[in-house]
Symmetry: C2
Subunit: 152 residues, 2 copies
């Protein structure tokens, strides 16, 4: 179904009719992250080949450290933070864009004393993320800065 | 090619290595609009099934009045304005989300005395827009407010 065109109003990072949800079912692999599904998941939005979500990380929180075959298109729309991309750390501020290529180990941190909020667009059909075990991390990550940053 | 992960830094709505381009080749059907291709068009970003673009409309400007089979996922990240969706007008402000369903006649206006900037994500494979002629507009638009708003 292609559905009807619509405007979803926003006020202070809360969207009408969009629920604030826990980031993942398994709450042990992240800290202080919520998920808002903005477009592409509803039955009347299936003409989109992708899904637009907003994630908000509380100050001091982080997303799961993971990898998968599908890529991410990310844009920061609130606050600042840091992202791990394999063996490197990148500072993030407002409107920075992040391309996360397939198989890249990644993790977002709200480590600047404020919330970090970002849009993350993904292909509709995609694989589930994998959390690397300690051996995989030891094999793939050499940077001491990154190893110190990883939270699991 | 799936390419390498990367961060594209932004400062005041200008992104490193991202060109500011005219919105369309045919400059007669819009006013004061520029286009920034953020992700999904480069050869090393082809793992994405979609493209993320940023459009900025100068105060007093407007996009082309058009329709097409592919849908749009839009989120406002600068300023405010108005969007025409078929027979209705909708005010837009920061972080509002717009779903433009297939075949919907639409046009964005920066009509509040400030710039209107929005992310627009589209399926990679999509049809080209069609500009309706006067007969098509007369057939499809009944609202006097919308008819008054349309710029061509």
């Amino acid at each position: 179904m292609s559905g009807e065109s619509k405007v979803i109003k926003c006020s202070n990072y809360q969207w009408d009719s969009v629920a604030r949800k826990e980031y993942k079912d398994d709450t042990s692999c992240y800290k202080g992250v919520h998920r808002y599904s903005l477009l592409g998941e509803q039955p009347d939005e299936q003409a989109l080949t992708f899904q637009t979500r907003y994630f908000e990380v509380e100050a001091g929180g982080y997303t799961s450290f993971e990898y998968h075959r599908h890529p991410h298109s990310v844009i920061i729309i609130r606050g600042s933070g840091t992202v791990i991309l394999d063996d490197s750390l990148h500072e993030l501020s407002l409107h920075d864009v992040v391309y996360i290529a397939p198989e890249t180990l990644h993790q977002f941190h709200a480590d600047r004393g404020e919330k970090l909020g970002f849009l993350c667009v993904v292909n509709r059909y995609r694989d589930r993320p994998t959390l690397p075990d300690q051996d995989a991390i030891a094999d793939q990550i050499e940077s001491a800065d990154v190893l110190e940053k990883i939270r699991q």
